[in-house]
Amino acid sequence: MGAYNTIAFDAAKCDGCGDCMTACAETKVGAGDSARSRIQIGGDAANGFELALCRQCGDPKCVSVCPAGALGKDAASGVIAWDASKCVDCLLCTVGCAYAGIALDEATGRVAKCDMCEGNPACVTACPHDALKLVTTSRIYNEVGNWEDLFAPGLAGCQGCNTELLMRHTLRRVGPDTVLATPPGCVPGMGSVGFNGTTGTKVPVFHPLLTNTAPMLAGVKRHYKRIGREITALAIAGDGGASDVGFQSLSGAAERNEQILFMVVDNEGYMNTGMQRSSCTPYGAWTSTTPVGEATHGKTQDAKNLPLIMVNHRCEYVATASTAYMEDFYDKLDKAIAASKRGFAYLHVYSPCTTGWRFPTDQNMEVARKAVETNFVMLWEYSRAGGLHFTRPVDDPLPVTEYLKAMGRFRHLSDDQISHIQSKVVENLGFVKQLAHVAKA
């Protein structure tokens, strides 16, 4: 299966002009009667506009409730097609769909729904505000959905943690011919190495010291190379072990260009041991060792930028990623896997911590996204041949307060602290831009 296209709606950009409905009606029924359009915009400017349109669902209820087999999802295009010859006009589909994506056209007495205009929807073309976009969805699911999940079911992460998502996707992609290292931290804390004689994975996995993940993995990889066996040496590590106590061995392995894929899941502290400060903890953040009291108010130093330090090792590949941008992550994961066959590949994934950062457990993706949208976190990649470049540049960033206010760990910040963080965001952006510019020149 390939990736599917679908129509995305950005309510914030919609002004309710109705051009999309007019265009749809003209294209589909040859009349400008927007009541017959298969896309319907409801609501108003005050309360926000809403969309009624077929989502071309992956598990479509309209299809499952249809008693006549008149609706079916086309495997190639992903479009849910309506077969007029089979339809018995019972309208059950209109009840089954939660999105009002299929509705009665009173002019014909039959149902009508979006057919994606053979890949070039008239509504999208007609929208003058960019509120409608044709986007590719489910690419990851369609590509890797059937691949084997190499972690055991039921990893014991905190509620709302998306590190499990990251771990499962990564190992699914890397595949079974892997030796996995998960040093002390949240990843083994979730049970990746198992407890009491059980294992958490279907690949060989070990629990290195906090300090020796990279060299231990290098030893494994080197011997398989010596005896002519191809394996991927993968580490899924935390930011504390990598940036602090294990940094020397990480740096040494990178300098020797060991053939390893080293992934750091950066939750900006020693979250597994009780949310203590690491050198990746940002300025001002509350942690259990940078508490907020009368005298001090969170961490007093800026975070170490570990991925940039790895760039200065001239690794085969270095990239930052975010769980809110999984397609970007997957592109980088593919490149990192390929690079790890030649030398040291480093992936730094920003992964918000619901427990340690103090935000509601349903907000993880939102917090991760806000970090990128404010440029607090930048998504870029580096290779020796291609230099450094942004993969998702944010030209019009939100103020950093939009990110900070999403979390309890920054609740105490003074105006001075906030302006320090905002100025650091600007400074960091300028620094990375300079590197990107230099790489381009």
Binding site: V179, V193, P204, V205, H207, L209, M216, G219, R222, S251
Partner: protein
């Protein structure tokens, strides 16, 4: 280095060479054919790993060499290699061993048969780059097998034997071959180089990760968290620890077997655990460890010539401590002087003396004894020092022992 060759020779024609102890160790390593060595320099070990590196660079040794960024990573690389099935080797000492301690502790727990020379060095501070047993003694309680060599030839031979001991399926433990910094590391001596084909036959098949492996063909979780105060309780942990202790005890037998096989194949016989030197009819004895034993034996010869009924007991295998063998050596001894090249801070005596007190207790009779501490920071323990040891031990037959150690080089 320039004249050494490791080509096939007839057993009858073992090549004779003049080498320092560090080179002898390197030649022994090459003959044992490890797949992987990891190196980091530190005095007085440095020339050992330089010799290894040169052997590989010259194509006379086929091993993957990892120039790691520190001892901590040196041992970590080897742990990974061993888990993937590699025969592995390194060498270190002193501060390097201290820096390595975190993975060092873990090596024995994972039952990885890694061989590591300790070119022994005194502990800092006071600052010192000289020999002494303080480094190896400090880590004696970590589950590594530790053997001490007396001569350069013994360094070469024991280095090869160490792999066979470590990889024995009843042992599966890492082994330290301890050679005295300065005296053995740089001491140059005639050695006979065993024939490669004979060593290959001696070593037999290699299988270092049958018990624990990181291999996609037989996936397993290596070292998952065991139960403790919660979960299933500590039984898994206790079973592992008990197994380690069993492996240590098994090694006493295996060390003897391997030394016997070595003697039969190569004609050089070493006391594997404890050596008795002129102990027949001895009323009292002195105990030694490592390269000091040569001067000790000379002094014993002179004392015997003077009519004294004294003998020498040399420990080769220090960890596990050869309790039964030592009890045998001590069975008729009426007074004992123990010479250590390091200190035991807690008991105000030498560590070997402290260990020996336990053996004396098991004898079930009172044996007056005295701790002598000498050779610190590379100091020489001469026959003159040993005559003092002999005299003061003899005095224990008639006068009570002091609880203070005798510091042999205090006025040197």
């Amino acid at each position: 280095m320039t004249t050494a060759t490791l080509e096939k020779q007839t057993p009858a024609k073992q090549k004779v060479m003049l080498v320092e102890g560090n080179e002898a160790a390197a030649l022994g390593v090459a003959l044992a054919r490890p797949d992987m060595v990891a190196v980091y320099p530190i005095t007085p070990q440095s020339s050992l790993v330089e010799h290894v590196a040169k052997l590989i660079a010259d194509g006379r040794m086929d091993a993957d060499i990892v120039d790691a960024e520190g001892e901590h990573s040196v041992l970590s690389v080897l742990q990974g290699g061993s888990l993937a099935g590699a025969r592995t080797y390194t060498a270190t000492c002193g501060p390097g061993l201290a820096f390595m301690f975190e993975p060092y502790f873990r090596t024995s727990g994972m039952r990885l048969p890694i061989v590591m020379s300790i070119v022994t060095r005194d502990g800092i501070t006071p600052q010192s780059v000289w020999g002494g047993h303080q480094d190896a003694m400090t880590v004696r309680e970590v589950g590594w097998v530790q053997v001490y060599c007396e001569t350069v030839q013994e360094v070469l031979d024991t280095t090869i034997m160490a792999f066979k001991i470590a990889e024995h399926h009843d042992v599966m433990l890492p082994v330290n071959v301890c050679l005295d910094g300065n005296y053995l590391s740089y001491g140059t001596s005639r050695v006979e180089l065993p024939d490669q084909a004979e060593v290959d036959a001696f070593m037999g098949d290699k299988n270092v990760n049958w018990h624990v492996a990181l291999d996609p063909l037989r996936p397993m979780a290596v070292d998952p968290l065991t139960g403790g105060s919660s979960g299933r309780g500590p039984s898994t942990f206790v079973r592992y620890r008990k197994g380690q202790c069993r492996g240590m005890q098994n090694s006493l037998r295996v060390i003897e077997e391997v030394h016997e096989e070595w003697a039969n194949r190569f004609g050089r016989r070493y006391a594997p655990l404890v050596e008795d030197y002129r102990m027949e009819d001895a009323d009292y004895a002195i105990m030694t460890l490592g390269s000091m034993s040569g001067a000790g034996k000379d002094a014993i010869d002179e004392a015997r010539d003077a009519g004294k009924k004294v003998g020498l007991i040399k420990i080769k295998t220090f960890s596990p401590f050869p309790v039964e063998a030592l009890m045998k050596s001590l069975r008729n001894v009426k007074a004992l002087g123990v010479v250590d090249r390091s200190v035991g801070f807690r008991w105000n005596c030498g560590p070997m003396y402290q260990e020996t007190l336990g053996v004396l207790y098991r004898l079930g009779r009172h044996v007056p004894s005295q701790s002598f501490i000498g050779g610190l920071a590379g100091a020489d323990i001469t026959t003159t020092h040993f005559h003092r040891v002999i005299d003061e031990t003899e005095a224990l037959l008639s006068t009570p022992a002091s609880t203070e150690p005798v510091w042999l080089n205090e006025k040197d």
